[in-house]
């Protein structure tokens, strides 16, 4: 609620506020909901002044309608699709991560969510030369691993350093610091965070359930409210700055024993696309994973693709029979 105070708009002074308070009107929404004619009769303010103030307040605080045609033109020019670097994931995501949307990776521990986030971050900073903001809530960010991934892409030290510089890491360990970090990013503009000419195009939060799941449950409302506030901030950042947001989440089992994303029904409406990562049973190498598309507005659901965490840019053909000899790349 927005409290009526002196100076929030021209025409509101001390006596104006006092006169309204005598009618028990303390907030902007109470004021706007009242009929100005009745109000002018009840308190000592002039009808003209009330109507003028009402108009100014409405102009200040409402959201304005945008014509569909203008919105479409704007979206056409600003929406981008960022490739993840892995052809199997790109196929599932309909050619990549779309800006202006939230994509969610879910999976049990060890299913590779953080590794996928690293690989996508490295791809965006090295191939696409854009800045990535990485919010780490679990302490799992490891710069050495990023360097390893970059070293397999290019032997040039300078390029590696440049790409590493484009990944900005924020460490937050509770929901209030997460909200403060997101609000700070949103209000100061992301341009300040961009590095070396590459504008910010991706925000990753690994993982959002680590800070939220401890607040949920029981009958308190605070946890759900904080969850929805985090969701609102992420969405606003994605839409207003035209970046893609990638979050990771844990899994639980539903009543039928199937895996579903954590954080409950209210969070499930938030991401636009959801991938479920799972280990491949009886695989020759332990780095194979499958990704299942469980929510998408662009593709048929329940598509499954297999991919290898170690060989990120290779197209993986699922073999039905026979063995495949995979070279173990020696890690430098």
């Amino acid at each position: 609620m927005v409290i009526l105070r002196e100076g929030i708009c021209p025409g509101i002074n001390e006596e104006f506020i006092k006169a309204l308070q005598s009618e028990d009107i303390k907030t902007v929404e109470d004021f706007v909901s009242c009929n100005p004619e009745e109000l002018a009769q009840k308190c000592s303010l002039s009808y003209k002044a009330l109507v003028a103030v009402r108009r100014v307040l409405l102009t200040q605080y409402t959201a304005f309608p945008v014509s569909g045609a203008d919105l479409y033109e704007e979206l056409l020019s600003s929406t981008a699709i960022l490739s993840t670097g892995n052809p199997s994931l790109d196929k599932l995501l309909d050619s990549g991560l779309y800006t202006g949307e939230i994509t969610e990776l879910t999976g049990s521990p060890g299913s590779g969510k953080t590794q996928v986030c690293f690989s996508v971050a490295v791809n965006i900073s090295h191939e696409l030369k854009k800045t990535v903001l990485y919010i780490d809530t679990k302490g799992s960010m490891c710069a050495n691993r990023l360097l390893q991934m970059l070293q397999t892409k290019t032997p040039n030290m300078e390029e590696q350093m440049e790409a590493l510089q484009k990944i900005k890491v924020f460490r937050v360990f509770d929901v209030f610091s997460l909200l403060a970090c997101l609000q700070h990013l949103r209000s100061n503009g992301l341009q300040k965070a961009s590095v070396g000419g590459g504008s910010v195009k991706a925000l990753m939060v690994d993982s959002v359930s680590a800070v939220l799941s401890s607040l949920l449950g029981g009958k308190q409302n605070e946890g759900m409210s904080l969850l929805m506030q985090v969701a609102g901030e992420l969405k606003m950042i994605a839409k207003d700055f035209n970046i893609t947001v990638l979050v990771t989440n844990h899994v639980t089992r539903d009543g039928n024993g199937h895996l579903k994303a954590g954080l409950g029904q209210s969070w499930s409406h938030v991401p636009r696309t959801r991938l479920l990562l799972q280990r491949v049973e009886d695989a020759e190498t332990s780095s194979l994973r499958t990704a299942t598309l469980t929510k998408s507005s662009r593709q048929v659901c329940h598509l499954v693709e297999e991919f290898d965490l170690c060989h990120w840019s290779e197209e993986r053909r699922t073999s039905i029979s026979g063995k495949r000899k995979l070279e173990e790349r020696s890690k430098p």
């Binding site: 609620m1 927005v2 902007v28 929404e29 706007v32 909901s33 009929n35 004619e37 307040l57 409405l58 605080y61 409402t62 959201a63 304005f64 309608p65 945008v66 014509s67 569909g68 045609a69 919105l71 479409y72 979206l75 929406t79 799941s213 949920l216 449950g217 029981g218 009958k219 409302n221 605070e222 759900m224 409210s225 929805m228 506030q229 969701a231 609102g232 969405k235 606003m236 994605a238 839409k239 639980t252 089992r253 539903d254 009543g255 039928n256 954590g262 954080l263 409950g264 029904q265 209210s266 499930s268 409406h269 938030v270 636009r272 929510k295 507005s297 662009r298 048929v300 659901c301 329940h302």
Partner: protein, 302 residues
């Protein structure tokens, strides 16, 4: 009592108020009951879990409204209030292009370029983003002027009106009246708008409250899979349709549509179902549909 005291309106506003808006009764006979389509002043609530096709159905209905009459549309202007940044304009335009292309194959398409036709349709749509329930209330007050001055505006879509449910509940503290105050004021304002101007309102609500048979007051506890096994499985359609928004909103709803996931068809396509109940007709109108590239395809079941 306060309705008698009206602000002075000019001639155009008077005519637009008295003339009435274009009727939307035939907007989609597949999903609305026979003779029970949304008339002037009706409020339709679209309720369902995530991924059950509510947004796709909204796009389908909006496109029906904004398309020109020669393509089978109603040429009605639409205001779309987007509360959770969910609106996908690119998807809407791809469905619109598909529809315009298929309808123009029969008719004469020499008048204008396809792009120009898409633009003229999109000019009938306005989109507003709200980021709190207070902003929704103030925006509705602001839009009152738009409704009175534009008689071609027949449909208001709010997606979704339950987005700020938890935030409001927390901000309201202990008292339920405080928690529901914003939504109650919005519902009262919507009631006034629909009665004065005869617009139709479509609103989506997320299904987040589980309908426990023995304990109706308990909201769903996320992450606790052990407790969910005690209750019925989620296959029954009444499991998630507990109405949880304030009474003022429930009083103005005239049609309620429940969306659920049905089965997966033989060609691996998910089939969705809607069940529409309204206060004017008896019984439930059910319908099945699939989501394809060009929008919604209804599956004839009878």
């Amino acid at each position: 009592m306060t309705a008698r005291v009206r602000m002075a309106e000019n001639g155009a506003q008077l005519v637009s108020r008295l003339e009435g808006r274009q009727s939307l009764r035939d907007i989609e006979p597949n999903i609305f009951p026979v003779d029970g389509g949304p008339g002037q002043g009706d409020v339709v609530e679209f309720h369902g879990l995530e991924g059950t096709g509510k947004t796709e159905t909204l796009y389908h209905l909006i496109i029906r409204c904004i398309m020109p009459v020669q393509n089978g549309g109603l040429e009605v202007a639409v205001v779309f209030i987007d509360m959770d940044y969910h609106f996908d304009m690119l998807r809407l335009v791809s469905i619109l292009e598909g529809r315009l292309a298929e309808d123009s194959k029969e008719g004469d398409s020499s008048e204008s370029e396809p792009e120009e036709r898409v633009h003229s349709c999109l000019r009938r749509l306005s989109v507003v983003h709200c980021n709190s329930s207070v902003q929704l209330l103030l925006t509705l007050h602001y839009l009152e002027n738009t409704f009175s001055s534009q008689p071609s505006l027949g449909l208001l879509v709010i997606d979704s009106i339950s987005s700020f449910y938890w935030v409001d509940r927390f901000n309201g503290g202990e008292s339920t009246a405080c928690q529901e105050a914003n939504l109650r004021k919005c519902a009262e304002l919507l009631d006034r708008l629909r009665r004065n101007y005869g617009i139709v309102i479509f609103a989506t609500t997320h299904a987040i409250m589980r309908n426990y048979a023995s304990d109706p007051g308990v909201p769903e506890v996320p992450g606790s899979s052990s407790s969910s096994r005690r209750w019925r499985s989620a296959d029954s359609s009444t499991d998630f349709d507990k109405p949880y928004l304030c009474k003022a909103w429930q009083r103005i709803v005239t049609h309620r549509m429940l969306f659920t996931k049905n089965h997966v068809s033989k060609d691996h396509k998910q089939v969705f179902s809607t069940a529409c109940t309204s206060i004017m007709t008896k019984g439930v109108k059910r319908c099945l549909f699939q989501v394809i590239e060009d929008g919604i395809k209804f599956v004839c079941d009878k």
